[in-house]
């Protein structure tokens, strides 16, 4: 064992030795790697490295973090110090039996003595504007290194004006420094606290957020990225909750927090820096095992995420409409105060609030008062405590807290420096493998590629090509390349649905706790890619449906047990490809939908009438009707009767479909069938007179040439088609649009298409074929057109109009009464 440790130390040192030769102040990945290595060194036991060496390693971790975050003025000198430290470590390690891989470098520096403490003295010089912090009470007898640490964190930087022009690199560095001082000062406060719990806590004072106009673009980029990091955090938190003892899970939480902290520091967003810093510290305790992962802790992290969300939302709003007003502030101050209390062990995170008695009871109230936690959160926490499978005994907790003070003085300090070490990997480790592109540029590219395809088609149709085998071969090849380019251009808009699903994980957890159920969410097919627009717009419908599944679908635990199911419900979210579409399925193993009660309710609500014969599917479809709500009680979570109709509309806007299958007692599945992209549709090309139209293939049921006995005329004004017992109203498209006279449907083609309230038969002259088309919007001028939703460029380069079935129905219904069957347009032709 100890040999292994020695080996690791050797490896780390030799890597450090290599790195230290090449690293410079601008080499962020290098610095980050060193940061990580020092962190690993500091984490070894004394068999690998002497206590002094570890101390030095920890110092280096801090120093490197400061370097990476741009806190240090004299960066080159600092780098030199780090290099010296590497050499010294190699020497001291050598003394304790490790063959130092970097010993030969040691001679190159002035620090031949190889004494860790002397390096610490040198470090002092780096921060020569540091004021001694000896007055800081409670720090016992600090060693030189401890002193240095205190100095570091106490460094005042009143001079730096954070709002100077950041273009000026020197001043910018100062700005960064000031920000990071803020973070460091926060640390110092903790240091003081952990060493003396009785001392009154220094109140964190929030700063009004001001965004320099020069930084707007950077901040916008930051906010966008931060959103993704928050999503990652939420996903990671849920993972931690599932596997509280998995240090990797907690580790994966650090990275996004730290990235946000780093970037926020860079942009002078002090509140965000402080908040994320506190969260990191807290998580570090959990990782070190000095803190249990309790539901309360999880809640606390979620709250931090929520506050950050509000903050980012505020910033985003501000950027979109910079009125000069201050950005609205979420309760950051109280949150930070709360986190500090938790970190210092003064209080437990809210979730672990014992059910009854004791001073802890005050804690919940206290936090509510502070505004850090809403009352209901405290309620949940208490509830959860009583529900939790192995609730920690109150006494145990008190014990933990009772003995904490002495231990935590040292632990606090230790975890402090290691806390800085933990997120090291994020500094420069993960290299972004993507480029952000304005979607407008992508759309332009897709447009042009579409044109290219058409131009290519025209070339290949040229008679010259047919007569020249060589040319034909070349044209064929270029056609293939053009198609590939088209596919590649389309693929650029595609992003995986994973992050959207992760958000649902958080939702399931929140809703389940709110309604007092235990629900497991399983996710499959996160890598399935959809058009960015589809992903953006599918979020809301998914939220509704997942919420419904948890709230209505899953039964309470006792009902489930009675039915012979597991106490905790299961909801699964999956995404997969199916026949040129993407299918998203939300499945629950709850009580299922009962067609009879749906029909009964439908009659009650006047959506259907008494005598209607509905198939099960039609009965299920009732829940999409406006004003329909299946919940017997409105629960505040769902069941307000808005929702499912909106869900259907949203999905239809995405040119998708939603289907329900359900077995009473077994559960339900909601399938959302979506096109791969909004920009392209599968269309059928129809001809009416000389014009061609495109109808979306998904809306088309079938097309037929009717026989005379299938057609019934009503008052000579309307026609219906009898298709296997169903009566379908016919809409002659030519007359409706005023392009041609009415034709006998028996000489024409009837395309049976579905719309919201049923089916219609669109009468056209000819069905030309199927084609994928790129949708071109018609612009505001043509917004009022009925029955036309857009245009597309057909294979020959001419524009074709895309039909909107619902609009055709509306236009058809309006046309009849006022115009005696004569289309309006026809009069003006």
């Amino acid at each position: 064992m100890s040999e292994n440790v020695t080996d690791s130390a050797k490896t780390y040192l030799s890597e450090l030795g290599d790195l230290s030769k090449t690293v410079d102040r601008d080499d962020l990945p290098g610095l980050a790697k060193m940061h990580e290595l020092f962190g690993s060194l500091a984490g070894l036991d004394t068999a690998g490295l002497s206590a002094e060496g570890q101390e030095l390693a920890r110092e280096m971790v801090q120093m490197l973090e400061a370097l990476i975050l741009g806190e240090i003025d004299d960066a080159s000198n600092a780098v030199q110090q780090v290099q010296d430290a590497v050499n010294n470590l190699a020497l001291t390690a050598g003394e304790s039996g490790v063959a130092a891989a970097t010993t030969e470098d040691a001679g190159a520096t002035d620090n031949g003595a190889g004494d860790a403490e002397s390096v610490a003295e040198q470090l002092d010089k780096v921060f020569d504007d540091v004021e001694p912090a000896a007055e800081q009470g409670g720090l016992g007898e600090p060693s030189d290194l401890m002193q240095l640490q205190a100095d570091l964190v106490e460094e005042p930087q009143a001079a730096a004006d954070p709002f100077e022009d950041p273009a000026d690199s020197e001043e910018f560095a100062e700005t960064c420094e000031a920000v990071d001082d803020a973070a460091l000062q926060t640390e110092s406060v903790e240091n003081a606290e952990t060493s003396d719990n009785a001392e009154p806590q220094e109140q964190y004072v929030s700063e009004p957020l001001i965004i320099n106009s020069d930084e707007i673009e950077m901040v916008a980029g930051f906010v966008e990225e931060a959103g993704e990091h928050l999503d990652a955090i939420e996903a990671a938190v849920l993972e931690v909750e599932r596997q509280p003892s998995d240090p990797e899970a907690i580790d994966s939480l650090f990275r996004p927090f730290h990235t946000i902290k780093g970037a926020a520091g860079f942009l002078n967003l002090r509140d965000i820096v402080s908040l994320t810093h506190e969260a990191e510290t807290l998580l570090d305790q959990a990782r070190k095992g000095s803190r249990q992962v309790t539901p309360g802790l999880i809640d606390l992290v979620f709250e931090v995420v929520d506050i950050l969300k509000i903050q980012f939302e505020g910033i985003r709003g501000h950027l979109a409409n910079p009125t000069g007003d201050a950005i609205p502030q979420p309760p950051i101050e109280s949150m930070i105060a709360n986190l500090r209390d938790v970190v210092s062990g003064r209080i437990e995170p809210v979730g672990s609030t014992p059910v009854a008695g004791g001073p802890e009871k005050k804690l919940g109230e206290n936090m509510v008062e502070q505004g850090a936690v809403p009352q209901e959160a405290v309620d949940f926490a208490v509830e959860d405590q009583s529900r939790s499978e192995s609730p920690k005994k109150v006494g145990e907790k008190l014990m933990d807290m009772g003995v904490a003070s002495a231990k935590q003085v040292s632990q606090g300090l230790r975890s402090q420096s290691a806390g800085a070490n933990a997120p090291a990997k994020s500094g420069g480790g993960a290299v972004e493998q993507s480029v952000r592109i304005d979607t407008a540029k992508l759309d332009a590219l897709v447009d042009m590629v579409g044109e290219l395809v058409i131009a290519q088609t025209q070339v290949s149709a040229s008679p010259h090509v047919a007569n020249d085998p060589k040319l034909a071969k070349d044209v064929n090849r270029s056609t293939k390349i053009v198609r590939d380019v088209q596919d590649a251009a389309m693929a650029m808009r595609m992003i995986p649905i994973g992050p959207t699903f992760q958000k649902m994980a958080r939702l399931v957890r929140d809703v389940a706790r709110k309604v007092g159920k235990n629900v497991e969410l399983t996710i499959a097919g996160e890598d399935t890619e959809l058009d960015k627009n589809v992903i953006q717009q599918i979020g809301d419908p998914l939220v509704h449906m997942v919420r419904n599944a948890v709230d209505h679908g899953i039964e309470p635990a006792d009902v489930r047990l009675e039915a012979g199911k597991t106490a905790s419900g299961n909801v699964s979210l999956s995404a997969f490809h199916s026949g040129g579409n993407i299918v998203i399925e939300i499945t629950d193993d709850g009580k299922g939908l009962n067609p009879e009660s749906l029909i009964k309710k439908g009659i009650e609500k006047g959506i259907i009438s008494e005598g209607d014969q509905l198939t099960d599917e039609q009965a299920f479809d009732l829940i999409f009707a406006p004003g329909f709500s299946t919940a017997e009680q409105v629960t505040g979570v769902s069941g307000r009767g808005v929702g499912m109709d909106v869900v259907r509309r949203n999905i239809e806007n995405l040119k998708g479909k939603c289907e329900i299958t359900s077995t009473p007692g077994k559960g339900s599945t909601f399938s959302i069938r979506l096109p791969l992209t909004l920009a392209i549709i599968d269309g059928m090309v129809l001809r009416v007179g000389t014009e061609r139209f495109i109808i979306q293939t998904v809306t088309v049921e079938n097309a037929l040439r009717p026989t005379n006995d299938q057609i019934t005329s009503i008052q000579r004004k309307g026609l219906v088609l009898n298709a296997r017992g169903r009566l379908i109203p016919l809409v002659p498209l030519g007359p409706l649009f005023g392009f041609s006279q009415e034709v006998d449907p028996c000489d024409a083609i009837v395309v049976i298409a579905q719309h919201e309230c049923g089916e219609i038969g669109i009468v056209v002259d000819e069905l030309i074929g199927q084609q994928q088309v790129v949708i071109k919007p018609l612009g505001e001028r043509f917004q009022k057109l009925r029955g036309i939703s857009g245009a597309a460029i057909l294979g020959d380069g001419k524009v074709g109009l895309i039909l909107d079935v619902s609009g055709i129905v509306a236009a058809h219904q309006n046309m009849r009464p006022c115009n005696e069957g004569q289309p309006v347009g026809a009069g003006s032709e």
């Binding site: 018609l778 612009g779 001028r781 043509f782 001419k798 509306a810």
Partner: protein, 180 residues
């Protein structure tokens, strides 16, 4: 004809290149023929001139809306200026052109034929005459004199934006009544 178009388009792109330097020298106008009358439109509004392409008719639109064309991948509306000015319709021929103008969005304007680009100094532009209720003068900027000939200078924004292109959304009872 194609040569003439190319030459004018060339001038257009040059104009775009050197910006708006002609402010002092007077405004440049693209002149064109419509039912025997000479018209001019501020060249800064003109994007390009193309021959007549396949035009896709659009239902429920006013008579003067020719339909939609594919301008290198962009779908833009075209209007028939003769129809817009209630002049008799004429079949398209080789001379017929579409002037693509930018009035916030691109719109094609069908004219009988395009002449050339004239620079008309402010002093050579007369105010539009008063002709009584028969002629809507609101979209005429003025009368430009070029070598003794009169060019009617159009305020193309007003021409294109003053009337709805979509004529009759069927739900509008009043419009339906008019149509009947």
């Amino acid at each position: 004809m194609q040569d003439a178009l190319d030459s004018i388009n060339q001038q257009l792109s040059e104009r775009q290149a050197d910006g708006t330097s002609s402010a002092d020298a007077g405004t440049k106008y693209l002149t064109f023929l419509l039912a025997g009358e000479d018209y001019g439109v501020d060249i800064l509004k003109v994007r390009e001139i193309i021959g007549v392409l396949d035009i896709t008719r659009v239902p429920q639109t006013s008579d003067f809306v020719g339909g939609l064309i594919n301008l290198r991948g962009r779908v833009i509306p075209v209007i028939d200026l003769r129809s817009r000015f209630e002049m008799p319709a004429a079949p398209f021929n080789d001379e017929t052109c579409i002037i693509v103008v930018d009035v916030g969005e691109l719109i094609g304007v069908i004219v009988d034929t395009v002449h050339e680009v004239h620079e008309i100094p402010e002093s050579q532009i007369e105010r539009p005459p008063v002709l009584g209720g028969q002629v809507d003068m609101s979209y005429i900027l003025g009368m430009g004199m070029v070598d003794g000939n009169v060019k009617i200078l159009l305020d193309i924004d007003k021409v294109l934006n003053s009337k709805d292109m979509v004529q009759c959304p069927n739900s509008d009872a009043k419009l339906i009544a008019e149509a009947v």
